[in-house]
């Protein structure tokens, strides 16, 4: 364990630099206006890259047994599945036109 720590020493600042650079790129990608889908793909990709760096190096997942990485990745996959399962139910355009006024009236009632 201690040996791993020693071996890793110079890497931390390197990872820090990468995280800072990726954050800067994220902001650069987020501010201009263009295709929402492309923006979402770019931003989620960058965020996943940063999350990977934190988990793999700061949380030492790369140095642990591979099984742990497999276990840890599971909830992320389940979350992706969760989003995919929820989406079709709510983004059906024809149905939204009917749902929206109802939602609006429910909202006024709440006030």
């Amino acid at each position: 364990m201690a040996q791993n720590g020693h071996k890793e020493h110079p890497k931390y600042m390197y990872i820090f630099l990468w995280l800072a650079i990726l954050t800067a790129i994220e902001i650069g990608v987020a501010i201009p206006e263009y295709s929402v889908v492309l923006k979402a793909i770019l931003l989620i990709g960058l965020a996943c890259g940063k999350a990977f760096l934190v988990a793999a190096y700061f949380m030492h997942l790369k140095l642990e047994k591979r099984t742990l990485a497999v276990i840890v990745i599971t909830p992320f996959l389940i979350c992706v599945f969760l989003v995919i399962m929820l989406m079709p139910d709510l983004t059906n355009d024809s149905r939204l036109d009917e749902v929206a006024p109802a939602a609006e009236s429910a909202d006024t009632n709440a006030h």
Binding site: Y12, A30, L43, F58, L68, C79, L96, E104
Partner: protein, 216 residues
């Protein structure tokens, strides 16, 4: 009766495969996996509500939330993650005072983060982003309208994360006090590693929250 003897026999030969070190670490990982699901569910619901806002529309978050401040907060959490790994690295080399300094810096990062979040929330509430409504005017000065669900989802997600940071600061403070009392050495420091896992996770979650709530 026969079964009972078999059980007894198994108990005799059973040796715990988890050492005190790995047990604590595994426990933290299990907690973090559960926590991932909590945040994952919150973000998935946010995405679903946004996609399902329909005719009401969803105000672009950039019209309400300032990115500059939160970009700074993101950078701050990344820095505090670095000081955290430095603290662990120091104690792995047996340097207790260096570990304490870095733990202190990590706590400082967390406290500043919380202060900035409190500032941001106060600012947003004053501008009209509440649990039941959104501001009338966006940051660009234009009149904005959209689903009022932005407020509650925003405060729930960032609040839940802020609560984690608060918990992390307390947790780190406990470890720092233990460290100052001389509890940790080069051979005994798994508790520092475990608090590190928690802290990096909080950083990781912020990376996701920042992307999904502020940037998208």
């Amino acid at each position: 009766m026969e079964q009972a003897t078999t059980l007894e026999h198994t108990e005799d030969v059973y040796e715990p495969s988890l050492t005190p070190d790995s047990l604590g670490k595994l426990g933290m990982w299990i907690f973090l996996i559960g926590d991932t699901m909590s945040f994952g569910a919150l973000l998935a619901v946010y995405a679903a509500l946004r996609a399902g806002a329909g005719a009401l529309g969803w105000v672009p978050p950039s019209e309400i939330l300032g990115i500059n401040l939160t970009a700074g907060m993101t950078f701050l959490l990344i820095c505090s993650s670095v000081t955290m790994v430095k603290a662990l690295e120091s104690i792995q080399k047996g340097n207790v005072s260096r570990m304490c300094t870095f733990l202190g810096l990590t706590i400082l990062g967390g406290v500043i983060f919380l202060g900035l979040q409190a500032y941001e929330w106060t600012h947003l509430i004053k501008h009209g982003l509440t649990l039941t409504g959104i501001p009338e005017h966006g940051l660009s000065g234009d009149t904005i309208s959209g689903s009022t669900l932005f407020g509650p989802t925003f405060y729930t997600i960032t609040g839940f994360h802020g609560l984690h940071v608060t918990g992390g600061v307390i947790y780190l403070a406990v470890i720092l006090i233990n460290g100052l009392r001389g509890r940790y050495t080069a051979d005994f420091h798994h508790e520092v590693e475990i608090v590190g896992l928690y802290w990096h996770f909080v950083d990781l979650i912020w990376i996701m929250v920042f992307t999904f709530i502020y940037l998208l």
